[in-house]
Amino acid sequence: MKLSILGARVIDPCSKLDQVTDLHLEAGKIIAIGAAPAGFTPTQTIEAKGLVAAPGLVDLNVALREPGYSRKGTIASETRAAAAGGVTSLCCPPQTKPVLDTSAVTELILDRAREAGNCKVFPIGALSKGLEGEQLAELIALRDAGCVAFGNGLSSFTNTRTLCRALEYAATFDLTVIFHSQDRDLAEGGIAHDGPMAAFRGLPGIPETAETVALARDLLLVEQSGVRAHFSQLTSARGVALIAQAQARGLRVTADVALYQLILTDEALVDFSSLYHVQPPLRTRADRDGLREAVKSGVVQAISSHHQPHERDAKLAPFGATEPGMSSVELLLPLAMTLVEDGLLDLPTLLARLGAGPADALRLPAGRLAVGCAADLVLFDPTASTVAGEKWLSKGDNCPFLGHCLPSAVRYTLVDGRISYEG
């Protein structure tokens, strides 16, 4: 298949490319930018005048829910939703049933993802067996099966010594460890940020220190073990300040935030809507502003959806009895474009935080738009708008943005030169 994309504003933040030009694709790769190679006759052309062509988005955390929770989502449904959000590569977390701690589960996920063919899927393996924090998972077997990094989610290790050993073992083989730093004891029983809103609504709180205490400890252990580390889903201004300090003293750590944390605050809990029940929780306006600044400065390299689709019943209960998480990957690009609309980021910087930033954090072969690279692209109209939920592909409709009119509209998502979504 030979494809030409004509007249798009082509942006590749890595090579500082930003110009209106043509792209030519063959055999799943970008073979030319600008003039077509001699003798190249496309079998298909896309008239892309007015559209932006950028590296396909890379989402570091999309719960695909399979195996084990297909009532909430399937690999087919959630990768389709991701493609609609402009995503071409995604990482799925290990919280499946059975837990993603064996090569069998890894292979099952990769097989189904290939079958679905909507996105490239890079599984994150469990760092400990069953995510129980006691015994190491077979990390090398998992790596060889296709896991790109290892994490334990919000489940803590039983003790710091075991965690420390896990990091040393991972460091031995240059594996990347993903932290969701939250102190189990400080967070225990909590369902909302421990601040005036939770106090007002009588919701048990999770203090900011649940994040910062664990983060400070984890950073010191990373420094000691020399492991490659990525800190995921930061929620607090003081948390990103700790990351910035570590980076400033030369520690090679990366970080991501959930996109919704850059938009929402705990003020959203005023009506007890379970749509805003997320873990770790939405925090204050000051925290949100701190996260936004960190994304702007590059302390936080990646913005991810932290997509968690749920069935209706999971959200149909009083706030504290509902399951946490938002279904949001489908809106990744339009929702992220609000950051450009707000003047926080320019478009190339946003695209870097959604492409090369996350790809580099986990060393994924993605996030670039250059000759010879895989033709993983998103084409979107920056002047159009998306009414969230007008069509909806995710199995979970637990998304508080439904009904909102968001900037930009994804027109095409291409994976290896093949159109995986057309809007």
Partner: protein, 334 residues
């Protein structure tokens, strides 16, 4: 971008009357005063030989209690009976795993039996809001206590107690003492006092029992009992649950009593005509000395009496607001 919330307040109908009674937050002073005035008029009913008025004749009120209660449940039952309603009381035990489902299914079943009003007590903050919004919008929901969030009828009966004994709220100093963090009564009282114009609201507790950002309620925080009680007109004591001794909130009941127990000696620092209140059940020797609980300043038993009148007021006002709204919606549909 902030979440859209152009909705009419959940607990009010289009005319601004109550159709549910979920929380005192967001209710205007006039409405609170109307509840108190109505309750005042019902107090007289309790003094009659025949203690009934026919306001809710033919209506069915279901008390659905997912948490234990004696006083609140009984006074709700009596209030509904005095309004001539049919009353059913269900004590639903909560199984921790399927809390949400139990709640949803239980209430839908009751709704199918054509109940007109639910009085709900539930351990989760926001449970009453959830029911009013998602489960039974056509049934009037009265919050009989939800988690740590609100206990609005207790709040109003405390306000009635204060108004009847102090005449108003304008020049009062009120101290709320004890476990503010876990108390829905304290939250409802702070909101009610502020709305009704009380200029000096104090809370007295150790830091472990104070929620973060409590100052937003417009209250002054004291950690010393003597200082906090100085010249107050009203003292509201809160019940201290025994399980607070674990997890490092407090060392012991003895130490709490030593520091925050209401004794005759401590009360001497308050105004000579001050009143002492408690939502019950009281822990003698833990938060309050028997001599105070049974003494001349105590209005604890009056609170119980007023509780029935306040609940009658809330039940009748809410039922009328809900009925008006349903009629209005039916007419609109036609």
């Amino acid at each position: 971008m902030t979440p859209i919330d152009a909705k009419r307040p959940l607990q009010l109908n289009d005319q601004g009357q109550l159709r549910h009674f979920l929380s005192l937050d967001g209710l205007r002073r006039e409405l609170l005063t109307e509840i108190l005035d109505t309750a005042d008029s019902f107090l007289e009913v309790g003094a009659r030989a025949v203690k009934k008025v026919p306001l809710l004749r033919g209506k069915t009120v279901c008390n659905v209690f997912f948490e234990n209660s004696t006083r609140t449940r009984t006074t709700f039952e009596m209030a509904a009976q005095r309004l001539s309603a049919d009353v059913i009381t269900l004590n639903v035990s909560t199984s921790s795993a399927s809390k949400g489902e139990t709640l949803l299914d239980t209430l839908r079943n009751l709704e199918a039996m054509a109940a007109d009003m639910f009085v709900v007590r539930h351990g989760d903050s926001g449970a009453a809001h959830f029911i009013a919004e998602h489960v039974c919008p056509q049934v009037a929901i009265i919050n009989g206590g939800d988690g740590r969030h609100a206990h609005p009828t207790q709040g109003m009966l405390d306000m009635l107690t204060i108004r009847r004994h102090k005449g108003g709220f304008e020049n009062l100093s009120v101290a709320i003492v004890g476990d503010i963090l876990h108390s829905r009564v304290a939250r409802s009282n702070m909101i009610a006092l502020k709305t009704l114009g009380c200029p000096d609201i104090r809370v007295i507790a150790p830091k472990t029992l104070l929620p973060i950002g409590i100052e937003q309620y417009g209250v002054k925080v004291y950690t010393d009992m003597t200082e906090g009680l100085k010249d107050v007109d009203v003292v509201i004591m809160l019940r201290l649950q025994r399980e607070r001794m674990s997890g490092g909130l407090l060392p012991s009941e003895g130490e709490f009593y030593r520091l925050f127990g209401l004794t005759t000696a401590r009360l001497a620092g308050a105004k000579p005509d001050c009143i002492v209140m408690h939502p019950g059940p009281i822990n003698r020797g833990v938060e309050i000395e028997s001599a105070v609980a049974d003494g001349p300043h105590s209005v604890i038993l009056n609170q119980v009496t007023y509780g029935i009148a306040v609940r009658m007021a809330v039940l009748s006002m809410t039922m009328s607001g809900q009925t008006a709204q349903r009629q209005f919606e039916q007419e609109n549909a036609q």
